[in-house]
């Protein structure tokens, strides 16, 4: 037996020994990984396709991405979520997206600019997923977001509150009285 053959045999034997000690796979929870991978795949897909090409299944996943991003936005996760929302809505949501994004851009400051109907539609849209498993934490956060929108609705309906609301001055009549 040559040295080379001997070394090959030893190597094979040692590899078998190692395999006996060390299992080839390890348990890992893939939930978070799958979610990230889905979002990455959808974003990449959407980036290369016009909105009218989006099939129903993918549109649903894009909405799921919106839902996740809304959650991140709500918890102050930062610009990544906001960017994702903007991208997904820009492709999938059409005109509705524009109004919704204006609102989301200021969500970090607390309460929002007065386009409440659009926000409500956004949330209804985001909550309308039947095909994904329930996520209690997400639902809770979305519920809080909905409450914030509802509060905004009321604020808009009440003219941003009695204290801050001022009757507009009728400048035309003032000018007329000056008699100029």
């Amino acid at each position: 037996m040559t040295d080379e053959h001997r070394q090959r045999d030893e190597l094979e034997r040692d590899e078998q020994w190692f395999a006996g000690f060390c299992e080839r796979t390890a348990e890992i929870d893939t939930t978070r990984i799958k979610r990230s991978v889905r979002i990455a795949a959808d974003e990449l897909w959407l980036a290369g396709h016009a909105p009218h090409d989006v099939p129903a299944g993918l549109a649903a996943r894009a909405r799921q991405a919106v839902r996740g991003a809304l959650t991140e936005e709500l918890s102050g996760a930062g610009n990544r979520g906001r960017t994702r929302v903007i991208r997904a809505w820009a492709w999938v949501g059409g005109g509705l997206a524009a109004a919704a994004m204006i609102g989301l851009a200021v969500i970090g400051a607390g309460y929002l600019a007065p386009t409440a109907d659009s926000y409500d539609e956004t949330i209804n849209y985001a909550l309308a997923f039947e095909e994904y498993p329930d996520d209690d934490e997400l639902d809770q956060e979305l519920s809080e977001l909905r409450d914030a929108f509802s509060e905004l609705d009321q604020a808009v309906a009440q003219g941003w509150g009695d204290e801050s609301w001022e009757e507009p001055v009728d400048e035309t009549s003032d000018q007329a009285e000056d008699g100029v």
Binding site: Q7, E10, L11, D14, E15, W17, F18, A19, F21, C22, E23, R24, T25, A26, E27, I28, T30, R32, I33, K34, S36, V37, R38, A40, A41, D42, L44, W45, L58, R61
Partner: protein, 194 residues
């Protein structure tokens, strides 16, 4: 679904075709097939459990972004583990070795305990296996990175020596010698600590 070992099955080829069309469900199948092996690879290479999870995720994100560049004449898992190997190299460049060794000792015990409990239902064998796994992790951490890398690429990635030689840009003889030397040292250290 299990990933292919040496030949690409028709099912698997279909998964890869769908993945190339950015079908998210296909990527989930790839995650199912390889996440356990990748996790084992990262855990043994670097030691940290959370770090290993993050790196598994990073591998798959990179796969999504680069799947268009994958050529089917090469083995998918060789491509996948090259990505994994590059991530480890980046990490080792950035982070001093000592800090990951500490994590290795701390994390491997906890992690392998829970793992073996799941496999064996918590029978007394668990303790012995856990000790072996812990000793193995410590011995692996003492090996030079190049030797550890070859051993773990072979074990978890099931890469051929030729594939590892190509990936590491080292002659085939060097790769064989690294594996031979590394495994011999491991055996010796493990026997000494028995």
């Amino acid at each position: 679904m299990n990933g292919p070992r040496s030949e690409i099955s028709e099912d698997w080829a279909s998964v890869l075709r769908r993945a190339k069309c950015l079908d998210a469900a296909a990527f989930e199948e790839i995650v199912d097939a390889y996440s356990g092996r990748l996790y084992g690879f990262f855990q043994r290479m670097l030691g940290g459990r959370e770090e290993a999870e993050d790196l598994v995720q990073e591998v798959f994100i990179r796969v999504v972004k680069a799947i268009g560049e994958y050529r089917e004449e090469g083995r998918f898992e060789a491509w996948l583990f090259r990505i994994a190997g590059n991530l480890v190299r980046d990490r080792l460049r950035r982070e001093p070795r000592e800090s990951t060794l500490g994590k290795a000792e701390q994390d491997s015990t906890t992690h392998l305990e829970s793992r073996t409990d799941r496999y064996t239902g918590g029978v007394p064998e668990t303790m012995e296996r856990r000790e072996d796994a812990d000793r193995l992790q410590k011995c692996l951490a003492k090996l030079p990175t190049v030797e550890r890398e070859v051993i773990l690429m072979r074990h978890y990635g099931e890469l051929s020596f030729a594939e590892i030689a190509e990936y590491t840009s080292a002659p085939l003889g060097t790769v064989l010698a690294r594996a031979h030397r590394g495994l011999a040292k491991l055996r010796q250290w493990m026997e000494l600590t028995t």
